[in-house]
Amino acid sequence: MKKFLAASVAALAISVAGVAAADPIKVGVITTLSGGGAGLGVDARDGFLLALKNAGDAAKDIEVVVEDDGQKPELAVQIADKMIQSDQVDILTGIIWSNLAMAVVPSAVAQDKFYLSVNAGPSPLAGSQCHANYFNVAYQNDNFHEAMGQYANETYKKTVIMAPNYPAGTDSLTGFKRYYKQELAGEIYTQVGQTDYAAEIAQIRASGADSLFIFLPGGMGISFMKQYAQSGVEIPVIGPGFSFSQDVLPAIGDAALGVKNSASWSQDVDNEASKKFVETFQAEYGRLPSIYAAQAYDTGSLIVSAAGKASVKDADAFRTALKAAEFESVRGKFSFNTNNHPIQDIYVREVIKDGDVLTNKIIATAFTDHGDAYAEQCALK
């Protein structure tokens, strides 16, 4: 569970490159640096800062303020208020979790600030509550689940699906079922924060399924995979990339080997931007980057590209520059849909062992130029 009151205001004011000349841009990064989910936030922050560093002079007028939300919505709101009122930032970014994004984004964009999402993509923000100043540089929440549904539809005949009983969980299964048209062997909802999955594993064993789709982010996924590997159940596991990302693989250990998972990026994506990102990330921080780092890196690059074209004080021009998405994405192709959410390829990866290190390898492409299901509910054109 979350920790008490979470750290606030770990003000890491970082002036990336000297004092600004003309129209500096001030970016507020609100992310999770303490508590159970800190690993994701740390990766996102590092990825974001790396993009600005790699951009060199192009980013010299971008000033960044980073603060820790401790994965608590009310704290995130408080920090957002502070950044808008006191620090007078132009752009907010960095939030990992959908519930925090839902708390911060609507009021931030209503106050004429830009918000760029490095990870969370809750469906209301893609559909009915979409906003011209809200750009999602990561994915719409359903995307990876849809990709796995698509993959399973082609590969398996009888899948049992499982997720925690909360909105992201139900969205996940909905997304999966949107593309999976074969028989469902069962639909299991677990408790949020659940640590023991014996009861569920027994059900899975008894289900007679030929595959298992899971969405269990963070510690839940680690616990489940360890217990599943020990249970002797041999049904292959598939799932969205979150539970098999670089930050959690070491804690799962070999139990993760062979799991197929979906993501819009993997460290073996074949393009120059990605290679440079992985290399510099390893050099700078001494570890492999996760997908959270990659998405945040793209977010940083996007801001740099827009800043080169327009002043942030001219909101309309800056918005147009963002929407053009003319930056070198580590994902290769990247563009924005009408609702300011990505159109991108989504891959299927497999967890492998590279020497002693567990990592992911791309084995297929589930979707090419994939958008999301909510764009038509969005009033933006």
Binding site: M1, K3, N165, T170, E187, Y189, A198, S223, Q230, A251
Partner: protein, 307 residues
């Protein structure tokens, strides 16, 4: 197949109950002897898991890790007993709650300071990997059976310790009359430290064993702590027997609720909705059971024989 699944789920419930018993036994023992409510018990559980994972990672041996977890949790327990807890015996429950709540903060943040935010890796020892066949054709995980075995052994051990040994006699004396035991010439401060360390070691053992099944991370002790509270409230605070019965009730009810409720709701709504509604109800089920028990017996099922 249904029967086999049912048996398997019953075993799962039993295994969860046994884990909870290890936590609850320490809590209830400490309350029974010293009259202290210890919120930081979950932190000792976490200490056990981290100690086991660290030592196992260094030496490659889970068993050394298990020993380390007992030692580390007992040591941590003894240290906080001497530094902090000892000053709280004469205080009211409010002070005890506050001080041990503060200890949670110190332990959680301190552990994060030492080990970082990423979860640690701990695996089941090779000896206990794999499964055994169950009647009805299903299979059951060996490690979980081993946990049940350890829990039963601890329960028997505690029973023998309390009824048959000198230490146990003193513990019982301490439960019934705190002044008298001082008059008997027993060094009460040492006794309290020993009891506290014993409770801590049990929590550490639970943490280490569960650590091999779950993610070893900061904050892992809190859900276990709250469940252990429910257990001892149902069982009767201060009663080891109550803790055992309460733990098995909570373990089985929780597991069976998660397993059966969605199926029951599935009889009259679609699977997806039944999963959500059943799951929501299942997550509250043990609290409902607790409320019912208390409505009938406000002192729990086995009220400790006190005043």
């Amino acid at each position: 197949m249904q029967t086999a699944l049912f048996i398997e789920q019953l075993l799962n419930g039993l295994q969860l109950g046994v884990m909870l018993f290890l936590m609850a036994a320490g809590l209830t023992l400490i309350f029974g002897v010293m009259g202290l409510i210890n919120l930081a018990h979950g932190s000792l559980y976490m200490v056990g898991a981290f100690a086991c994972a660290t030592v196992a990672a260094y030496t490659g041996s889970f068993w050394l890790g298990l020993i380390a977890s007992l030692a580390a949790a007992a040591a941590a327990g003894a240290i906080i007993e001497i530094l902090v807890i000892r000053r709280l015996y004469e205080r009211d429950h409010l002070d005890q709650v506050l001080a041990t709540f503060a200890l949670i903060l110190v332990f959680s943040e301190g552990t994060r300071w030492l080990f970082g935010s990423f979860p640690l890796y701990l695996d089941i020892p090779p000896l206990l990997q794999g499964t055994v066949p169950l009647p009805g054709g299903s299979r059951y995980q060996l490690y979980r059976l081993a946990i049940i075995g350890v829990g039963v052994a601890v329960a028997v051990g505690l029973f023998l310790l309390i009824t048959r040994t000198r230490l146990g006699m003193r513990i019982r004396a301490g439960e019934s009359d705190r002044e008298m035991i001082g008059a008997l010439g027993v060094d009460i401060r040492t006794l309290y430290t020993i009891v506290f360390a014993l409770g801590a070691a049990l929590a550490g053992l639970a943490g280490a064993m569960v650590g091999a099944l779950q993610s070893v991370q900061v904050g892992m002790g809190e859900p276990a702590l709250i469940l252990a509270f429910v257990v001892i409230v149902i069982g009767g605070i201060g009663s080891i027997r109550g803790a055992l019965v309460g733990a098995v009730i909570v373990g089985v009810v929780d597991t069976m609720g998660r397993f059966l409720l969605p199926q029951i709701f599935g009889l009259f709504m679609n699977a997806s909705q039944a999963g959500i509604v059943g799951g929501a109800l299942a997550s509250m089920l043990i609290y409902i059971v607790m409320a019912v028990v208390l409505a009938v017996r406000p002192q729990g099922l086995f009220p400790a024989a006190k005043g």
